[in-house]
């Protein structure tokens, strides 16, 4: 069992900013654990622009934004980075157990910053009836398949949800040669930015059905079509408005959930509705010395806000460690 001053779990934009900030505020013994084989988290697959307007006053893509922090952190020898490291257990006294190829390790830091991001809501969580064929993807998975692996999930796509992720993927699919048949949004207007409606949807003449919901997914082995209908204010189907859209792919982009199962394991109080930690002060949790930042604290719209939030967490953690001496 190793003892450290600070452990940061997560090497995406939140973890990177928090670790760097903690260092800038005086912490000289930091271990950052990242489960993937590279730093940057989801920014690596967000190849589009829209990042850094606030923090850097520049128009950057996700990878470029991440690169700024990756270069910075790699130049700090006091921050040890362990890739392919997956935390499996967290205890109330902050003892962490993590696995990596070839070993199981335990470490107990004085302070812990959790920057574990969020996961996507699935089709099952929004109860879309029908079959379970191949061809149903969360938007994030589709994005990873296309942008990291060069795999095209499908050729005729229906996107459920008009949030930014869904809109960005509408453009991505179109540019890669697929046909986006429709975006289906249950609310009366888009949940994403207007600029994305312009550059992702209008630019490519993609039909958007507001106040509509998907009634059923059809297809035995692969998606064959979806049934869609208009809904009233109570989100119930308006009889007589149902129609089918033939497609081979359904993208589900219906919301994000903070990933906080690890701190829940440690007995940290979690809000059952949002899955965020119950917190009276930003970044602090119900267990002193355990901090949460980035999307696992609260789902942010802009990565610039994630950075700001995480820098604060780093500062608070540094303060906490200083006060315990």
């Amino acid at each position: 069992m190793f003892k450290r001053d600070l452990v940061v779990v997560g090497g995406g934009p939140a973890g990177l900013a928090a670790a760097i900030s903690a260092h800038e505020n005086g912490v000289k013994d930091i271990l950052l654990l990242e489960r993937d084989q590279y730093l940057g988290g989801l920014l690596n697959q967000c190849i589009h622009t829209g990042f850094g307007l606030d923090y850097f006053k520049e128009i950057l893509t996700g990878p470029e934004y991440a690169d700024r922090f990756i270069q910075k952190i790699q130049a700090i020898p006091d921050i040890e980075i362990d890739l392919r490291s997956f935390v499996v257990r967290l205890e109330k006294d902050k003892t962490l157990t993590y696995l990596k190829p070839g070993g199981l390790h335990t470490v107990r830091p004085k302070a812990l910053i959790m920057a574990t991001g969020c996961r996507e809501k699935t089709r099952e969580m929004v109860h879309i009836p029908g079959t379970r064929p191949a061809g149903i993807f969360s938007a994030g998975l589709a994005q990873k398949l296309i942008n990291i692996e060069g795999l095209l999930p499908g050729k005729e796509v229906v996107i459920i949800g008009s949030g930014d992720i869904g809109l960005i993927m509408a453009r991505r699919f179109t540019l890669e040669g697929a046909k986006v048949k429709a975006i289906v949004e249950i609310q009366g207007s888009t949940r994403g930015l207007m600029r994305n409606m312009v550059q992702c949807v209008e630019d490519f003449d993609i039909p958007v059905y507001f106040s509509h919901k998907v009634l059923k997914v059809h297809g035995k082995d692969r998606v064959e079509k979806v049934s869609v209908a208009k809904v009233d204010r109570a989100m119930n189907e308006i009889t007589g408005t149902a129609f089918d859209i033939p497609c081979d792919t359904v993208l589900v982009s219906v919301g994000l959930i903070p990933e906080n199962e690890l701190i829940e394991m440690a007995g940290v109080a979690i809000d059952k509705k949002t899955n965020s930690p119950v917190s009276r002060e930003v970044n602090k949790t119900s267990v002193s010395g355990i901090f949460v930042c980035g999307n696992s604290f609260k789902v942010y719209d802009y990565v610039d806000s994630v950075t700001a939030d995480s820098e604060l967490a780093g500062k608070l953690a540094a303060e906490y460690i200083r006060n315990r001496r």
Binding site: H48, G50, T61, R195
Partner: protein, 119 residues
């Protein structure tokens, strides 16, 4: 004539109103910053977009290198650009920000890598 549009320069998405005479924008209303005025003119006369995509790597530590144009290119050239990008292969290691192609498609923009790729 008046053309209404949403500015895409930043997340604010100001609703612009462009006065167009003889195919040229003479006045722009609704912009909260100078970028909006420039955008309106470009959008009315020659709509352009920054293109982001990925290029297949060969013998590097990532399968695809994400790329971008440093400046917007005309909307009408987007698919032609994607076709060109589809044919490229990157075999040399590079840093984020490195230029892959100068004067991409003869449009006066650079095609740049946005992520580091090593051997």
């Amino acid at each position: 004539m008046i053309k209404k549009m949403v500015c895409i320069e930043c997340p604010k998405g100001c609703l612009l109103s462009a006065d167009i005479e003889n195919c040229k924008v003479v006045k722009v209303a609704g912009a909260k910053c100078p970028k909006g005025i420039i955008y309106a003119a470009a959008e009315a006369e020659n709509p352009s977009r920054i293109l982001t995509a990925t290029v297949l790597a060969d013998g590097l530590d990532i399968k695809l290198v994400p790329v971008r144009t440093d400046k917007p290119i005309p909307k009408k050239d987007l698919f032609r650009a994607m076709e060109e990008i589809g044919k490229m292969r990157i075999a040399k290691p590079l840093r984020a920000g490195d230029t892959i192609v100068d004067n991409f498609l003869g449009l006066g923009v650079k095609l740049m890598a946005t992520r580091e790729a090593n051997r």
